[in-house]
């Protein structure tokens, strides 16, 4: 085949599928002549085989931004009751202003229980999740590098704490494509208020734009300018599109060697169809009352996060590869009882509902669910007013849990020291967590690479190892 032909076809199908990546549910192949459809079957978002066999095909990533306290949720530290309010001083140039000076230990205001057959540790205020612990693998050994929110968020989301790298969802869709060609492969469901570090938390970095996380905004337009101006009907828009098409067609005939023109024309047609499709996916009325109730929808404090969890399930069901759901902020420097208490009340039932719902639909096997923050919290606190019992940031210890396809459910892996200050068993840098998550999805971090800036880049940055204890 002469290079020109193949080049053209490449370019065309690449564009089409890039568009498909952010478009509504139009059967793309229907738009193409048969030979094109054939050629188009290897677009950038076409489902691809991973490097390894795996149970999990999709991923729902529950990002508890702000840094939830492991000590007050899943990693009880009775020793802190003894040490409660004991004061000490910490100095040294290896310490931040936050960690140094006068400190005091803070016991957890939450009581713990052993739940499920596995006897997992869980704070008593997780009433709903307690019933799901046998499906969960808790991991207490992860450590990160950064103590600031955005840099730690970037590291958890992209592997690179300085930002600018592709998010895990981008890597996964780059590696596996996405089952539904007519929706983005990587969708983000943020809080109304974006987390620190903003949209770079779901950016495609140096990967092509097709792999960018698409945020569906919880209020207002789910996608900016998805709808035309008020008063503009579809017929009205169609007329504009028709004039545009005729001008573009004449122009293209004068520039037959310019491949981008056709792709840009197609983009307009596909966008036009997408306007129709997205609202249906967001329509919760398609769910029965029992399901809405399960997630705590239409009542506080669970409505907001419940809707996002249910939408996550709907998206995965519709063939979206990777969904990230945000809840926060867990940054409880003061009054942790009240702050964490309220947050747990708002996420406990929706998370349990998500696990239950996935399970009963047979989707849990093929879906990897991850719950984590960007770091854990410290057993001690600065003297913030003396009695404001809260906790500072702690990159040395945290709890992450996973459920679903391929995880070592019903086990707690790793351990922190007696105060929860530092991971001491099965300790791994977050890069190993990334390698493990990719592994669970059938991807080998060392092979999932992209050549950029002079080297093959990868999610783990420089490679890492699978934490085999987390895998069933």
């Amino acid at each position: 085949m002469p290079p020109l032909t193949s080049k053209r076809r490449n370019s065309r199908r690449e564009f089409l599928y890039g568009l498909g990546a952010t478009l509504g549910s139009v059967a793309l192949t229907a738009l193409l002549p048969a030979d094109r459809a054939q050629a188009a079957s290897v677009g950038p978002l076409t489902p691809k085989k991973g490097h390894l066999p795996s149970k999990a095909k999709n991923c729902i990533f529950l990002m508890m931004e702000g840094g939830p306290s492991h000590i007050d949720t899943f990693d009880p530290k009775p020793k802190l009751a003894e040490l409660h309010l004991q004061e000490f001083t910490r100095t040294g140039e290896m310490k931040s202003a936050m960690e140094s000076g006068k400190r005091y230990y803070v016991e957890s205001p939450f009581k713990f229980r052993k739940a499920g057959k596995s006897g997992a540790d869980i704070a008593e205020n997780w009433h709903h999740l307690a019933h799901c612990v046998d499906d969960i693998c808790f991991y207490r050994g992860c450590q990160v590098d950064s103590v600031n929110h955005p840099t730690a968020m970037y590291q958890m989301n992209t592997g690179n704490r300085f930002g600018g790298g592709p998010a895990m969802g981008s890597w996964v869709t780059y590696g596996l494509g996405s089952p539904n060609q007519n929706l983005p492969g990587f969708i983000v469901l943020p809080e109304v208020s974006y987390p620190q570090g903003g949209a770079a938390n779901w950016g495609n970095g140096f990967l092509p734009a097709y792999y960018q996380g698409t945020p569906l905004r919880p209020k207002g337009s789910p996608i900016l300018d998805l709808e035309p101006m008020p008063g503009v009907t579809r017929a009205h828009q169609r007329e504009n599109l028709d004039l545009l098409a005729s001008l573009n067609k004449a122009h293209a005939s004068e520039h037959p060697q310019h491949d981008d023109l056709a792709a840009r024309m197609e983009a307009y047609e596909l966008a036009f169809r997408m306007q129709m499709q997205v609202p249906g996916i967001l329509d919760m009325n398609q769910e029965d009352a029992r399901t809405l109730d399960l997630y705590g929808i239409d009542r506080e404090p669970t409505d907001g996060f419940g809707r996002r969890c249910l939408l996550a399930r709907r998206l995965v069901e519709a063939g979206v590869r990777f969904v990230q759901v945000y809840a926060g902020t867990w940054d409880s420097h003061d009054y942790i009882e009240r702050a964490h208490g309220n947050l747990v009340r708002s996420v406990d039932q929706p998370i349990a509902a998500l696990l239950t719902d996935l399970k009963r639909r047979g989707l849990l096997e093929s879906t990897l669910v991850i719950w984590c923050g960007e770091f854990g919290r410290s057993p001690d606190n600065g003297i913030r007013g003396g009695t404001a019992f809260g906790r500072d940031h702690n990159p040395h210890a945290m709890t992450i849990w996973m459920a679903g396809g391929g995880v070592n459910a019903g086990h707690t892996i790793g351990a922190t020291d007696e105060t929860g200050a530092e991971a001491v068993e099965c300790v791994h840098h977050v890069r190993d967590l990334h390698v493990t998550l990719l592994h669970l999805l059938g991807l080998d971090d060392n092979k999932l690479t992209y050549f950029h800036g002079g080297r093959f880049k990868q999610l783990s940055q420089f490679g890492g190892e699978v934490i085999s204890e987390l895998i069933a």
């Binding site: 840099t151 001008l247 092979k447």
Partner: protein
């Protein structure tokens, strides 16, 4: 001696072969092959094993991956846990090791980055074929010495550097072709040109085109040319009048174009367009990024400095000096202090959460790498933790370069405004002062809630004994001399704490606060902190640096002045090689220095490269080394960028990476000749434009007469046989829309403006450290909003979605080249948005106001948008559309726009975990004057606006040919 060696070699090879024989029963190899294999082993294979394999398979005896030890031939023959030998001497295809390095069956080394090159795989194959000899150390030394010349000449060269962390690295060899960027400029290749009359650029380019047996495309027509040249140089479309003048110019193409180029180079907008390119590379933004994303109130002065530098055709060497060492050249020169802001363009902050030394190190790493990428085409950060994997940049060089910045300190420095700086619009300060008053009042109100009464209520609610509190309160009242003593809650609380009262019996400091009060308190307190940065904008301050000792900082929450005694207080940093890049793991100390390979491989003299060790003057010396005419990197890097910004592709394909992994130059002789000419022309960037734009190569059409042949002969499109079309960059697209709609305010320079952004994005709450960032409020007046996109406030944490979808790069990493991907959100932004429709209305209004009608209207629209008249069927289609749309619009009514005066923020409060809302005032909307809106105009104009919208969305508008 020679005889002795060769005898020993022979003996040894016999021994080795004998060993193999006994183990594997392979035949004895011919002497030549086995000696060749020995040489290979000593010179190539062992080193490769060391760098690629031993880490997992030998070095750590406790942790042998796959139980496979490669430290000896025995280990290789024993194999790993599979118990099969990893090599079968003489039979590479049966050797699992050989298969594994090709990623057949096993995949080793497992990381893509560590994979063996084809050449390394060949060495391994040849070694196995030659019987896989493993001579002992003494013999290997001999073989290395013996072979030195032969190997160096045939297979690579060693590069003299300051030395690697390990000897193998220091001794390693490079393919000569990877070292091109360090070699002195080669201008002898132009000899053949001297006798020709053609343009030198064409001579180089056409020579290659001829080699490929291609024809070059003919010259583009004049309409295409002027559009190309105008977008290239000023980033705006030519006006219809300019097009006509050029098309009608009786002079031949080249001379007529020269006139256009001169006019454009003299335009103040030239500097804007080329500054925009430069700001991509240096990562310009008006905020700090990360957790706080504080505004950098004075960064705009650096942006305008860059605009001036291009407009004044500041010699590039001077431009480099000023940005690296402006403050060291002359401390009293405002312009130079502003220029040094370059060193701080990366994102940076120091919060109380962060270890100060780590944050300092982040700055040092950032600035070292930035200088490497921007000026030298080197990704230096690769050498932070280990000697560079591909390039002759040892970690020692990295830290020597970094030592230059060890005395560079960040400061907001006093620098009076210059007469040439645009100081319009400073009155917007009043809005910030209004906000400040709002926050201050909020704090006062909140403080009232934290009352003694609230404390009493707290005791009651908790069922706690208030006695101690009341006793303390009584005592404080008694002490007071007032008749009606006022004792604050804080006073009582302090006293209780002083007395060591049990914490349970001390009400919390925020007693009386409801959930929203916690949130509001934080918002007001942090809001005042954030305003400090924003209010700096109108002060005669430069975002700059100074040379001095490193001050002790805990966190940086306000602009940093220069300390009183910058040379005496603080630490005089001693730079060491940092193990793993960790500032707490210093190893060998280094002195300030430059890239050693760039000196040894080129003609740079030792004097050029010497950096003083005093506190002041290190950066200036670095700058002088960078711009030394003997430094081969600098001029190549810059002409390569200039070329790219003209042709939409660079000669060396990775302008920030001239190393091994960067793309090699497609026309190395041309690149060198341009670099040499650039210096010869006094580093004049404008001279380079004149040179490039006067070539036939630049004037070529984008259509090639034999597209199939072209595709065959030049599949990667690097022959320049035709001109490569490009999509307008994000800012060009917006500016072009404002230009054709007649709304563009052509003012140059000044404080950043805030164009209208999609309202939902503008009001999207966004968390920054401990609070929300301020809403994006558009500048109140249309003429402020309709400035060029270059002047739009560039926040790292909130990017304009319009610019973002059209591939404007995030200012975190240096952007060497824009992308032009084609994704649907672009359609939503350009076709659906109100902002687009506003441009369409303005354009329609402009043309109708010119008293045109019917066909003449359409004619005018096409001339504005495309620089040509419409064809009859286009006119007809547009007129019919106008008509239909006017009818449609007769049935539509548009409400006048309502602008918010405040925005309700909803978030989870971090102290309470409860949702709370906060009402942020939007002060600027009080004076907001909207653009011409659908509600302001009749159906006929709106109908025409629909035609305009289509034109603005068309491919002809979006691409430059």
């Amino acid at each position: 001696m020679t005889l002795h060696r060769s005898v020993r070699a022979r003996l040894q090879s016999v021994i080795v072969a004998g060993t193999l024989l006994s183990l594997c029963a392979v035949p004895v190899f011919a002497e030549d092959a086995s000696i060749r294999a020995e040489k290979l082993f000593a010179n190539r294979v062992l080193g490769m094993f060391k760098t690629k394999c031993f880490v997992c398979h030998g070095e750590d005896a406790e942790d042998l991956r796959g139980e496979f030890n490669m430290l000896s031939l025995d280990g290789l023959l024993k194999g790993g846990e599979s118990k099969t030998p990893s090599i079968v001497p003489g039979k590479p295809e049966e050797s699992p090791l050989y298969l594994a390095v090709q990623w057949r069956d096993l995949e080793m080394p497992p990381k893509e980055n560590d994979r063996l090159t084809e050449e390394q795989i060949r060495y391994l194959k040849e070694w196995i074929l030659g019987g896989a000899p493993w001579p002992n150390e003494a013999r290997r030394t001999e073989l290395v010495q013996d072979a030195e010349n032969e190997w160096n000449v045939t297979n690579g060269v060693t590069v003299q550097t300051s030395g690697g962390l390990i000897d193998e690295w220091t001794q390693r060899q490079y393919e000569p072709e990877h070292l091109w960027a360090y070699r002195p400029l080669r201008i002898d290749a132009t000899e053949g040109w001297a006798n020709e009359s053609s343009h030198p650029i064409d001579w180089f380019i056409n020579r290659r085109i001829a080699e490929l047996e291609l024809d070059a495309a003919p010259a583009a027509d004049r309409r295409t040319l002027i559009r190309r040249a105008t977008f290239d140089l000023i980033g705006l479309p030519p006006t219809p009048e300019e097009v006509t003048r050029f098309v009608d110019d009786p002079l031949p193409d080249d001379r007529a174009l020269t006139k256009v180029v001169e006019r454009l180079l003299a335009s103040p907008h030239y500097g804007e367009q080329w500054a925009r390119h430069w700001l991509d590379v240096v990562r310009y933004a008006d905020s700090s990024g990360y957790a706080n994303d504080y505004e950098r109130g004075n960064a705009w002065r650096y942006r305008d400095y860059v605009v001036r530098a291009f407009n004044e055709d500041k010699p590039y060497d001077q431009f480099v000096r000023e940005q690296i060492a402006g403050d060291e050249i002359a401390e009293s020169n405002e312009e130079l202090l502003i220029a040094a802001g370059f060193l701080r363009m990366g994102p940076w902050e120091l919060t109380a959460m962060e270890v100060p030394k780590v944050a300092r190190q982040r700055f040092l790493d950032d600035v070292t790498d930035a200088v490497g990428q921007v000026f030298l085409g080197h990704m230096l950060q690769c050498a932070r933790c280990h000697d560079h994997k591909f390039d002759p940049v040892p970690t020692r060089d990295y830290y020597s370069m970094q030592a230059i910045f060890a005395t560079t300190q960040l400061a907001e420095r006093k620098a009076e405004f210059l007469p040439k700086e645009n100081r319009d619009g400073f009155e917007e300060r009043q809005y910030l002062q209004e906000r400040q008053a709002f926050y201050e009042k909020a704090l006062r109100d909140l403080n009232k809630k934290r009352s003694v009464e609230a404390a009493h209520a707290w005791f009651k609610e908790k069922g706690l004994d208030p006695t101690k509190f009341n006793v303390a309160l009584g005592e404080l009242k008694e002490k007071s001399e007032d008749t009606q003593p006022k004792v604050s809650f804080d006073q009582v609380r302090k006293l209780l704490q002083k007395r060591g009262t049990h914490p349970d019996l001390i009400p919390p400091r925020h007693v009386g606060f409801e959930a929203r009060d916690f949130g509001m308190e934080r918002i007001a307190r942090k809001g005042i902190e954030r305003l400090k940065w924003r209010l700096q904008r109108y002060q005669p301050i430069a975002f700059s640096v100074y040379s001095g000792r490193t001050p002790k900082l805990k966190s940086v929450n306000a602009p940093l002045p220069i300390p009183e005694e910058p040379m005496k207080t603080g630490e005089l940093e001693e730079t060491c090689i940092l193990a793993g890049g960790d500032p707490f793991s210093p190893t060998t100390p280094v002195t300030p220095g430059v890239l050693s390979a760039a000196n040894t491989l080129s003609d740079v003299s030792a004097d050029d490269a010497s950096i003083p060790t005093g506190i002041v003057g290190r950066r200036l010396a670095l700058a002088e080394w960078i711009v030394s005419e003997r430094n081969p990197l600098t001029s190549r890097v810059m002409v390569n960028r200039i070329w790219q910004w003209h042709f939409n592709q660079a000669l060396a394909g990775n302008p920030n990476n001239f190393g091994t992994t960067g793309k090699k130059p497609s026309h190395p002789e041309l690149l060198d000749w341009l670099a040499w000419t650039f210096m010869k022309e006094g580093w004049s960037v404008k001279s380079m434009h004149r040179l490039i734009m006067s070539s036939e190569t630049y004037r070529r059409a984008s259509q090639h007469p034999q597209p199939k042949t072209l595709a065959l002969q030049d599949p990667n499109g690097i022959s320049y046989a035709r001109f490569r079309p490009r999509r307008l960059e994000a800012e060009e697209l917006r500016d072009a829309m404002l230009s054709v709609s007649g709304e563009l305010n052509p003012a140059v320079g000044g404080i950043p403006v805030r164009p209208e952004m999609n309202m939902e994005a503008a009001l999207q709450p966004r968390q920054v450290m401990g609070t929300f960032a301020e809403a994006w409020q558009p500048s109140p007046l249309p003429r402020q909003r309709h400035r060029r996109s270059l002047y739009a406030l560039r926040l790292r944490g909130l990017r304009d979605p319009f610019l973002q979808v059209f591939n404007a790069p995030a200012p975190d990493l240096s952007c060497e080249a824009r992308e032009a991907s084609n994704v649907t959100p672009q359609v939503f932004a350009l076709f659906n948005s109100e902002i687009s429709f506003d441009r369409a209305i303005a354009m329609a209004n402009r043309v109708l106001k010119e008293k045109s009608s019917g066909e003449r209207t359409i004619d005018r629209l096409f001339r504005l948008a495309f620089g040509r008249v419409p064809k009859p069927d286009e006119t007809e289609a547009c007129l019919a559309h106008w008509d239909r749309m006017t009818t449609r619009h007769r049935g539509l009514t548009f409400a006048p726009p309502a602008y918010p005066r405040e925005v309700v923020r909803e978030a989870v409060e971090e102290n309470t975990g409860e949702r709370f809302t906060f009402v942020e005032p939007l002060e600027m909307y009080a004076d907001f004057v909207p653009d011409l809106k659908a509600s302001d105009v009749g159906p006929e104009l709106r109908g025409l606006a629909e035609v305009c919208l289509v034109l603005l969305n068309s491919n002809e508008f979006a691409y430059v040919y």
